[in-house]
């Protein structure tokens, strides 16, 4: 109880609340603009938050992370273009509703389902906290090493159809984090006698290059366009009444979001897809899916909004990020000397509760903001894409240069910007590089610290949790091979689509 009060007290500070307000509203606006997305915004804002207090910086970024998907639903519903990549399925039923003259109903349903999913996710996070506080300390070096290894394997295998590319990029990420002076043996690794490489390749510089600068290049090299979203009329609060008729779909979809949000490499896409499939299979009117079904819209939005809170579980409890946005959040923790992992629940439990309350507050702030400002956002959506490119490049400078005032960082980030553009144009994933860097660093450190206690490789799995994770690794690989064999035998014809738009991944 004392810790809960301390967490509430943290949120009651004016600077923390202001940061949450700015982050939440900023996140909705950013999410509503197709072509920007939370990854770009968080990458740019990361260095700017380093000067702020931990709770202030974290709540601002958390605000952007948790609220962007609310905003992303607006263009998905109104102009058939998802604001963030994870709103892709929202457009399947949202846009047909708009075409049928039910835009206000679709937007309203999207908001209420998002709110339901968001609050459900936080509820699970809070309920799981006591369990996490007990389980997390059981994770020693070898367990965290194996969990990070499982994370890398899942991230690679999640990119079906492009596993070789994802594997290659994941390994590139692991390699990147090895560059520089090895902190234990004090030997140079892949520095090619260049002094600027001795301190290694900075994660934030890579993140800014791959997410923000590449997106600017992507927009600047593509033809200019200006989406046209029509204003929405009608009561936006009406969606809540309709949502209550579909409580079951909303709750199951949110549960999918929570479970899959906790697993690295899967997240919003899989949760959204599985809940959509569930909603369709259990619906009384399955044929209406894809033609304006409220259940489809609810399933999609509730699932993707339950993910951010769930994704915080492995991050806070084990210090292992499951996707790019939580990987970025991890660097904010490190900068403020708050190390996520088993000790966090013992030493900084007030901060953990503070973050929970911040998540609840951001959902309320965003909902209230959206009920009054949806039509304003439809105007913001119309910003021409090349103009956005100019703005992103200008803001990226703040992110890169404020880090260390280094021109070398600017050059490195520009190089990664070009690489990111190539990946986006080729529809190849960016996330494996970032997770490779983060999880690779964790694996190297944890394996080294586990070594003195290991006499044989089997000692690695002689504890219950490490053994379970090891079995999971074998299971994941085994299931993947089984699926490949089944697909090969079935000779299923390929179908192309752009669902996996890499812009936000």
């Amino acid at each position: 109880m004392e810790n809960i009060l301390a967490g509430l007290e943290m949120l009651a500070r004016w600077d923390v609340f202001a940061a949450l307000l700015v982050g939440s509203i900023g996140g909705v606006i950013i999410g509503a603009i197709p072509g920007v997305g939370p990854a770009v915004a968080i990458a740019i804002m990361l260095p700017a938050t380093f000067g702020l207090e931990p709770m202030v910086g974290l709540t601002m970024l958390l605000g952007i992370y948790g609220s962007s998907m609310y905003g992303g639903a607006i263009p998905a519903v109104l102009i058939n273009t998802p604001g963030t990549a994870v709103n892709a399925l929202t457009s399947y039923d949202g846009y047909p509703m708009t075409e049928n003259g039910e835009a206000h109903r679709a937007v309203s349903l999207a908001y209420s389902a998002s709110f339901w999913g968001g609050i459900f996710g936080i509820g699970c996070l809070i309920l799981l906290s006591p369990v996490l506080a007990i389980v997390a300390p059981m994770f020693g070096s070898r367990e965290i090493f194996l969990a990070a290894l499982l994370g890398i394997i899942l991230v690679v295998l999640a990119h079906r159809g492009q596993i070789m590319a994802a594997g290659m990029l994941g390994m590139f990420g692991i390699f990147l984090q090895t560059i520089g002076l090895d902190a234990v043996t004090y030997t140079q690794r892949y520095t090619f006698d260049q002094t600027f490489l001795s301190s290694g390749v900075n994660l934030i510089v890579v993140v800014l290059g791959l997410f923000a600068i590449s997106q600017a290049f992507f927009l600047l090299t593509a033809p200019d366009s200006s989406p046209d979203a029509k204003p929405v009329s009608g009561k936006l609060g009406a969606g809540f009444k309709e949502l209550l008729k579909h409580k079951r779909v909303a709750t199951v979809a949110s549960a999918f979001g929570v479970v899959l949000g906790m697993i690295p490499g899967t997240g919003e896409f899989t949760a959204q897809f599985m809940s959509y499939t569930y909603a369709q299979k259990t619906s009384k009117d399955p044929d209406s899916f894809g033609k304006g079904s409220p259940e489809g819209l609810i399933a999609s939005e509730a699932a993707n909004n339950a993910v951010p809170a769930a994704a915080m579980i492995p991050l806070l409890a084990l210090g292992i990020p499951g996707e790019a946005l939580t990987a970025m959040m991890l660097s904010v923790f490190y900068v403020h000397n708050v190390i996520p992992g088993p000790q966090l629940f013992q030493n900084n439990i007030d901060l953990v509760y503070g973050l929970y309350f911040a998540l609840i507050a951001l959902n309320v702030i965003v909902l209230v903001f959206l009920l009054f400002s949806t039509n304003l956002l439809t105007k913001i959506i119309r910003i021409p894409t090349r103009f956005l490119g100019v703005m992103i490049l200008m803001l990226s400078f703040v992110g890169v240069y404020s880090l260390r005032n280094s021109l070398t960082d600017v050059i490195i980030s520009a190089v990664f910007g070009v690489l990111g553009l190539m990946l986006k144009r080729l529809n190849l994933p960016i996330v494996p590089i970032i997770l490779g860097m983060v999880l690779g660093g964790i694996m190297e450190t944890k394996l080294r610290s586990a070594l003195p206690r290991l006499n044989s490789p089997f000692d690695m799995i002689d504890r219950p949790i490490s053994f379970i994770i090891f079995v999971l690794i074998l299971l994941v690989i085994g299931l993947h091979i089984r699926t490949l064999v089944k697909e090969f035998k079935a000779h299923q014809p390929d179908e192309d689509h752009d669902l996996h738009d890499t812009q936000s991944r």
């Binding site: 000067g51 079906r160 690794r189 600047l220 990226s396 600017v410 520009a414």
Partner: protein, 179 residues
């Protein structure tokens, strides 16, 4: 039925023009980096294999080369997609914007954040095709807002301009502190 079908289709990614060029590029880079392993990493006598400074670069680069090889094989055996070199030219065209970005970063410590940002935003907006006064003003206004937000208000660590040193005393200190 809907556009969603099986779980398999969710995870599918498909080749785009230029895929084979990228595959070759990655493969050659991987092979080159792996070939440098003995020169660029050390081997400590007596240390365990997993604690060797060479261990993780060797593991990551070996697997990267293997994955890159299979990716290249997949691309080479797939049907050719039209527009390969057009796509490569588009990638190359982004180098111009990379140049804009680096030039901007290079000039800021001399001419100051405020002036350089406004010139950069308006100049780049003009370069990408905006000619109307409204759009150019919007670019300049956004640049000014960015400076006020990050440098003046949030006091983000950005350089001051050498040019400011030549300004009169009162104005000089204001420009150095806030712009």
């Amino acid at each position: 039925m809907t556009k969603t079908k099986t779980l398999k289709s969710l995870f599918k990614r498909y080749r785009r023009p230029g895929d084979i060029v990228f595959a070759w590029f990655c493969f050659l880079i991987s092979v080159f980096l792996l070939s440098q392993i003995a020169d660029q990493t050390a081997y400590k006598n007596g240390a365990k294999l997993f604690a060797q400074p060479r261990f993780w670069p060797a593991v990551s680069l070996s697997l990267m080369t293997a994955f890159a090889g299979f990716h290249l094989l997949g691309s080479a055996l797939s049907e050719r997609i039209e527009g390969r070199w057009r796509e490569v030219l588009l990638w190359a065209s982004s180098l111009e914007y990379a140049g804009w970005f680096m030039a901007y970063a290079f000039v800021v410590p001399y001419t100051g954040y405020l002036l350089t940002t406004i010139v950069f935003a308006v100049g780049l907006a003009f370069r990408v095709g905006y000619r109307s006064a409204q759009m150019l003003l919007a670019a300049g206004g956004s640049a000014l807002f960015t400076v006020l937000l990050f440098k003046t208000l949030l006091k983000v660590n950005l350089p001051t301009g050498l040019m400011y040193e030549r300004l009169p005393e009162g104005l000089r200190s204001i420009m150095l502190t806030y712009f």
